[in-house]
């Protein structure tokens, strides 16, 4: 058991340890400036911020926004993608929307979002939905068109109706693509939330970064950066683990 745990997580442990070691060496011996604090100082600061509740507040604010926008964006994107992949005329009609809008980065939409929705939660969630929805739509639609024609033909020859084919063949065959789209969207959500919070927010990891710059709290900046990395890493692992556990049979390999 210990052996198995080690083979699973030992690599990660060594990886993270070496990363912090390199950081430490670079900060202490190479740069040695107050503008680049070593990990020990950052962790000390993180403990302080954890103690007074500030860090949790920021972390929770960002996480909440990401989750709300990501879930809403996926729930909207999946049916639209399925419809686009299934009906060619609809695809033609909707493609201008997706192909036009996906080239306008969510960061560019921040200004509009703030004008429309103010600097509260609504603008952030709008931006996360915006950054999620197109990737999910495109991946879902691509998944539908990638279904092997023989899967559909086999169902037809087995007597399935059109509705049954959609529900029992097209939908499950597309699940791996949907999950991949969601995973990519999740990564984008992190970029977007930081940018949005940098510009307009009262709390969140991005706000923490901005305040750090304003008040020259370099340690705070690094605490926020480390949190972003760890949060992203954790969320992605959880996502991968859920796919493996609950949707393993839909994994792209099969």
């Amino acid at each position: 058991m210990g052996r198995r745990l080690w083979s699973h997580y030992g690599g990660y442990l060594v990886g993270f340890a070496s990363m912090f070691a390199l950081w430490h060496l670079a900060a202490v011996y190479l740069v040695s400036s107050v503008l680049f604090p070593p990990p020990t100082m950052v962790f000390r600061k993180a403990l302080v911020l954890l103690g007074n509740g500030v860090l949790v507040e920021h972390l929770w604010a960002s996480t909440q926004r990401i989750l709300a926008g990501f879930i809403a964006g996926s729930l909207l994107g999946i049916p639209i993608g399925l419809a686009m992949g299934s009906f060619r005329p609809l695809r033609r009609i909707l493609e201008p929307y997706t192909e036009f809008l996906r080239f306008i980065p969510s960061v560019a939409m921040i200004t509009v979002a703030v004008i429309w929705f103010g600097i509260g939660e609504a603008s952030k969630i709008f931006l996360i939905i915006y950054t999620t929805i197109f990737i999910v739509i495109l991946n879902t639609a691509a998944g539908v068109s990638a279904i092997a024609p023989n899967k559909i033909r086999a169902a037809q020859a087995l007597g399935a109706t059109r509705a049954q084919i959609f529900l029992h063949v097209a939908l499950p065959a597309t699940v791996p693509y949907i999950l991949t789209g969601m995973r990519l969207a999740m990564a984008n959500s992190f970029t977007t939330i930081v940018a949005a919070e940098l510009i307009a927010a009262n709390e969140g990891l991005g706000k923490m970064l901005w305040d750090g710059r304003m008040f020259m709290l370099v340690d705070d900046i690094f605490v926020s950066l480390v949190c972003l990395g760890l949060l992203g890493f954790t969320v992605d692992r959880v996502f991968r683990w859920s796919i493996y556990t609950f949707a393993g049979k839909y994994s792209p390999a099969t």
Partner: protein
């Protein structure tokens, strides 16, 4: 009345350049109930096109295809299909769930469809592995699932599109033997597409030889009067082999000449 009748069937495909390609032309064929009909032809001659039309996946450009005297207008449960590759299997379902698929679509209860699926899996020699997913099974096992999946639905006939072509030689020979046994036990009507003379003589009760495409048609049909298990070293077997070989060798040469 024949079970399936193809009358003066022609199929034209439009290529991307806009030029028409006539895959099959003046194609006539009658398949009788209970026979094992092997449609043999060089690669690229339009065998699969014929199967797709009989299955109802594609319709003829001109001519007609009748089953029990009724025109074929689309795919139907009457004609079960076994495809060459494994891409028709549902990777998210286990072997037995794949086999149950048709019964489930018809609303047959869980217990009954499981029983029936297991019976057919047994018949095709896939026991004890029914809870595995297709990706966990070998090529031969996957073809067994396909055969069971088509047969459990009790179609009037079975359409098989080079089902063993992608298997290694040993597995292929074994699968042919098993299919012959299953067929003798069930007497299902089979239309079997192949480019392999040996396979056709080993399995068929009749062999239809196709001309090389384009504009492929039926060159000739041969009755095979071998009963029971067939022995490849038997003189009669070899005589049939030579006979079919004589019929097909010019077509293979033509087909290769065109490909060059």
């Amino acid at each position: 009345m024949s079970l399936v009748r193809l009358r003066n069937v022609q199929k034209t495909y439009r290529s991307l350049q806009g030029a028409d390609y006539v895959a099959v032309e003046r194609f006539d064929l009658a398949i009788e109930s209970g026979e094992f009909f092997c449609l043999l032809g060089p690669s690229g001659c339009g065998k699969t096109t014929v199967l797709k039309m009989v299955a109802g996946f594609e319709s003829p450009t001109t001519g007609e295809i009748l089953m029990d005297g009724q025109p074929v207008t689309g795919a139907s449960r009457d004609r079960g299909v076994v495809f060459q590759g494994d891409d028709s299997l549902y990777g998210w379902l286990t072997a037995v769930e794949n086999v149950e698929f048709g019964l489930r679509m018809r609303g047959i209860g869980k217990r009954e469809r499981r029983d029936r699926a297991l019976r057919y899996l047994e018949l095709v020699g896939l026991h004890g592995q029914h809870q595995k997913y297709p990706a966990e099974l070998s090529g031969g096992m996957k073809q067994r699932i396909q055969i069971a999946r088509a047969m459990v639905n009790e179609p009037k006939m079975l359409l098989m599109d080079e089902p063993f072509a992608a298997l290694d030689a040993q597995t292929r020979a074994l699968m042919q033997e098993e299919l012959a046994t299953v067929w003798r036990a069930t007497q299902t009507t089979v239309l079997f597409i192949t480019h392999d003379i040996d396979e056709a003589v080993a399995l068929g009760t009749r062999i239809g030889v196709m001309r090389a495409g384009p504009r492929a048609g039926v060159k000739g049909v041969l009755d095979v009067t071998l009963n029971g298990a067939r022995d490849r070293t038997d003189d009669v077997f070899l005589r049939y082999y030579r006979q079919v070989y004589e019929m097909i060798k010019d077509e293979v040469a033509k087909s290769n000449a065109r490909a060059d």
